[in-house]
Amino acid sequence: MSDIKEIGCEEALRHLFEYLDRELDGARHAEMEQHLHTCRACYSRAEFERHLKGKLGAVGKEPAPPEFELRIKNLLRRF
């Protein structure tokens, strides 16, 4: 653990969304994880953003109306 650089809250918050989006490289990701394990304020913020992101994910899914489902089925049948 000693080779993981310690980061402050400001830096952690700057990279928070990239961390949640799994866009950080291994070293930076580890720095974030370590900071979030030791800082309650940043951990709470990260959990909030994670849950909000999860709720947004559900917005991208909408049951297709039956008649539209049929339209797509008919389309697929012609391929």
Binding site: F48, K53, L56, V59, P63, P65, F68, I72, R78, F79
Partner: protein, 226 residues
């Protein structure tokens, strides 16, 4: 777009296994395709045409997809590009793109979490958790729909569809740094809209004892939980 007759797909040399794979993937992803199309186009008829056109284009180009593990990202890229090319036909010079070029990067990011943490809300045990429990899917939909297209598209691709920054960059034909910047600004605007909506709906004055009342849906309308 209007409700168009679906075009005949190109004749294909695909095998039965290819067809089965394609059909299974499309069927499995249909709700996601439709949900994304709906948030992009913001109306049902256009969303349906957009998905139908995407499926047709995807089948016509299926032979060029070498790695089927990438099917999902590839399909959503076709969906987004189809939407964007349709937009370019109707509005070749986007006002939003011009507004973006003016740049507002110096504007500090808006944090909904920080707003919810303000002392006047501390009568809630855990205001941010309370917010997450009570925010409705339609509140989120409205906030996404209200974003300017230049920010809405990357937010949809990242937060709603889980595409990587690289995939979004390739889809939009912009550098990864631009994707990061548009996502930051889009999320900031989205959180600001959610906060404003929460305030308008009475979050500040919601009775602390009424656990069933939604502080962000007390607008007099009937809301359904999804």
């Amino acid at each position: 777009m209007s409700v168009l007759a679906d075009k005949d797909p190109k004749p294909s040399t695909m095998t039965d296994a290819d067809r089965a794979f394609f059909e299974q993937e499309i069927t499995g992803l249909l709700d996601r395709l439709y949900g994304t199309a709906l948030r992009l186009s913001k109306n049902r008829a256009d969303a349906e045409d957009l998905v139908a056109e995407t499926v047709t284009k995807a089948w016509a180009n299926f032979g060029s997809l070498h790695d089927r593990q990438c099917f999902r990202g590839w399909l959503f890229r076709i969906l987004t590009n189809t939407f964007l090319s349709e937009c370019r036909k109707t509005a070749p010079l986007s006002i939003e793109a011009l507004a973006e070029a003016q740049g507002e990067d110096e504007e500090p990011a808006f944090s909904l979490f920080d707003r919810l943490h303000q002392p006047f809300l501390l009568w809630w045990g855990n205001p941010e958790q309370e917010f997450l429990n009570k925010v409705l899917q339609q509140d989120l939909q409205k906030a996404v729909d209200a974003l300017p297209k230049v920010f809405r598209v990357p937010v949809i691709l990242s937060d709603l569809q889980g595409l990587s920054y690289q995939e979004i960059a390739e889809t939009l034909g912009v550098p990864v740094g631009t994707v990061r910047s548009r996502l930051n600004r889009g999320r900031s605007q989205l959180q600001k809209a959610l906060w404003q909506h929460a305030q308008e709906a009475g979050l500040k004055h919601a009775p602390a004892t009424d656990k069933e009342s939604s502080p962000i849906s007390q607008t007099g309308e009937h809301h359904e939980r999804h």
